[in-house]
Symmetry: C2
Subunit: 451 residues, 2 copies
């Protein structure tokens, strides 16, 4: 095995307290919740878990240390108290050993920052770095600066697929790993082209080779989502890796898709958007890429094609680089360096406690700004103006059979008072419907989950 | 008649010494020759003509004044002497009154800087401003800031034609005048769309209306080039204007096409490139637009289409704005103001004597730079590395029957020693062939004239 390309399996073979605690944390905490990351940075994963689940109380000295880590001592007591309410509903349902065994049986495990194989590039996310990374597969993690994300619309055209195939094939033959989200459309075309190119390049991947492709999924790795991509994702797993910050059984919600996009950007030396509609998940990934200082490349297309409207928007409104051929795509990684050495193993991670990843400048959940306003053809979705909390509750609401509120607190990972307040707002907005003492999505409210 | 939109005809109705002298100058001097422009600025057109043709000698006081105008006194005597040799071959063939009568019979005339209708925007060209502007047609010159150039490849695709039609139609319905070069492909589609939109907008043009479209041609206006566009160019003439700095009978050479492009850029508030191959005349026009501070818009297309490769190159390598719809095209003219008042009539033009239009940063006659070098698919043409003088001689060489050298001095507008030296270089390069005492283009040397 190439020591410079450690496989996650080698790391996850040692179960330990940190790993078990982090496995629990990935189930307890919704991605992007920053207070737990500060707690882990301050106290280590095991003590943080005890505190977050309410099994232990925060000592005054710990409170000071946490305040130091967050850099915002004012209101910390209130934030901590709100967090405890938010985490409590799920605290009762944790069984990290079972999750670790489940993933081990599926040929995977949990990669944690204490492992040597942990991708240092994830630390660019600061306090929104994942608490752990579940994986399946035997491909070796690629070296930093050797990963190119290729993302785009689910509704890809023949043009988009052909360009993806051409550019990805060239990148993989040049030894790169192509990262994507496993979705229909451009994502799927990117994974498939990477697998085909790897086979041409000789060797079927496996434990000896650096992964030609990695799929970062929004839900747990015990199932393949979308279902129509099961065969593709199995092939990705065999030659490369499936990754997710969500534990087995976790469903892919809209919020988790958007959070997943930050991992695609962070894991990649550069991000290439092949086709994107006026508002699309690919633009969210692009926003994360810019926020993280990753080079962003965008492929133009016919201005008459809605499938390229988001690409042209990125080229007009951001410093994205126009990519017109496979050489341009490879050149996105020119100058990408291995990130500076990360904190020593053991969870001190002092450098992750205070740095904040900048806000992405393009976020599809926000209004598209003045330029977008005059484009009447790009209609607002009913869920566009929602807060993260509202989005979490909408995602947690079933479409048909209504569920009780305490179930929503678990699914959404929010405190009871928050869920009640949000439900009332959603009801007024016509997005949630009350059926006796239970709740469900209102008919016509909210869209499908974003891929 | 709208006094703010003077027709050129109203100005050219008064024949005078300046007009006759400038008519002669447009035949004597090859476009882009800057010393004659300095002489005209210093001495007025009539005295300048006498000096340039050798009918009068430069007094010492005039030499000092000319040196002041050129801003480069060193070597002026040598430059002037070389100029006299360059202009002498054509000096014997001038008959400006005949040219003025010829254009008048064709429903046109010569517009000169001394006319109130002279487009002030042309003065942005500094010493490379045209010495006069021949025209045919009755449409009124549009107000400054109300002109949009739309240019592109001769080999236009159905996509390029459709986009041109859509964007131009919108621009003309919004009251703009669309300027182009009358060539096959995008140019022709732009003129046709402008004419159709003008007809929809009501009124068939004519003397009362501001021209919906103007075609700037590289040769004399007594013939329609390309021949296949005779009907289109007649329609442009009827609703709008045909313009050229070349006198009747002048043939459209490659050099004149490139020089013509500077007029398209200067006459327009902004330039829109719809489709352009990796090297194309449209890129030359784009280079002039940037050099003149005109806003440059570029329409992207499929990266798989060679017809858009030049567009993508412009978007990558220049500050051009990506134009994805008709609103973007109109927005190119946002902020374009009527240029500051020009010099008083009578040719003092003190503000044009020293300002120099910056070099266009993209010129198709030069090598495409480092990025271009790795693109093996874009082969060099044999004429790519030629100097302006060499280009003039190549253009002057007939393809079949060989001509004597003195004939080449007239056609190319170059002095005899220069033509002899250039012919010897072209012969070594396999571009010129000697047949006894005559010369012609070598078989396979040089391409067709650029449109």
């Amino acid at each position: 095995m190439n020591p410079s390309h450690p496989t996650p399996t080698s790391a996850s073979a040692r179960p330990d307290g940190a790993r078990v605690a982090r496995a629990a944390l990935t189930r307890l905490v919704e991605p992007g919740d920053e207070l737990p990351a500060h707690a882990v940075a301050a106290f280590g994963p095991e003590r943080a878990l005890a505190l977050l689940t309410g099994r232990a109380a925060l000592h005054p000295a710990e409170r000071d240390l946490l305040a130091e880590h967050t850099g915002a001592p004012d209101g910390l007591a209130r934030r901590w108290s709100a967090g405890l309410q938010r985490w409590a509903p799920r605290a009762a349902h944790l069984d990290p050993e079972r999750d670790l065994v489940a993933l081990h049986r599926l040929g995977g495990g949990l990669l944690i920052p204490e492992d040597d194989a942990w991708p240092a590039a994830l630390e660019d996310l600061g306090e929104s770095a994942p608490l752990g990374l579940w994986f399946r597969g035997t491909g070796a993690l690629p070296a930093a600066g050797r990963t190119l994300a290729v993302v785009g619309s689910r509704e890809a055209t023949a043009y988009g697929r052909a360009v993806t195939r051409q550019f990805v094939g060239h990148a993989v033959r040049a030894g790169l790993c192509v990262v994507s989200g496993g979705a229909y459309g451009i994502d799927g075309a990117a994974h498939r082209a990477a697998l085909d190119a790897a086979q041409e390049r000789g060797g079927a991947g496996g434990a000896e080779a650096s992964a030609p492709t990695m799929a970062v999924l929004a839900g747990g790795l015990d199932r393949f989502y979308p279902a129509g991509h099961e065969e593709l994702l199995r092939d990705v797993m065999e030659a490369g890796l499936l990754l997710s910050e969500m534990p087995p059984g976790a469903s892919p919600t809209r919020h988790r898709f958007l959070q997943r996009n930050r991992l695609i950007a962070a894991l990649s030396g550069a991000v290439l958007v092949v086709e994107a509609r006026w508002r699309s998940g690919a633009q969210n990934t692009a926003g994360h890429a810019m926020g993280l200082g990753r080079e962003l490349g965008v492929v133009p297309g016919p201005v008459t094609a809605p499938s390229s409207a988001g690409c042209h928007r990125l080229l007009k409104e951001t410093p994205a680089r126009l990519v017109m051929d496979e050489d341009d795509a490879l050149a996105l990684l020119d100058g990408v360096r291995r990130p500076a050495g990360r904190g020593a193993p053991g969870g001190t991670a002092a450098d992750t406690g205070t740095s904040r990843a900048p806000e992405p400048s393009v976020a599809p959940t926000s209004a598209p700004g003045t330029r977008g306003e005059r484009r009447q053809r790009h209609a607002e979705r009913p869920t566009d103006a929602l807060t993260v909390e509202e989005l979490l509750v909408v995602d947690a609401l079933p479409l048909r059979s209504a569920v009780p509120v305490d179930r929503l607190t678990v699914t959404a990972g929010l405190a009871l008072p928050t869920v009640l307040a949000v439900l009332s707002r959603l009801q007024r907005a016509g997005l949630a419907e009350r059926v006796e003492d239970r709740w469900r999505r209102a008919p016509g409210g909210g869209g499908t989950v974003e891929g």
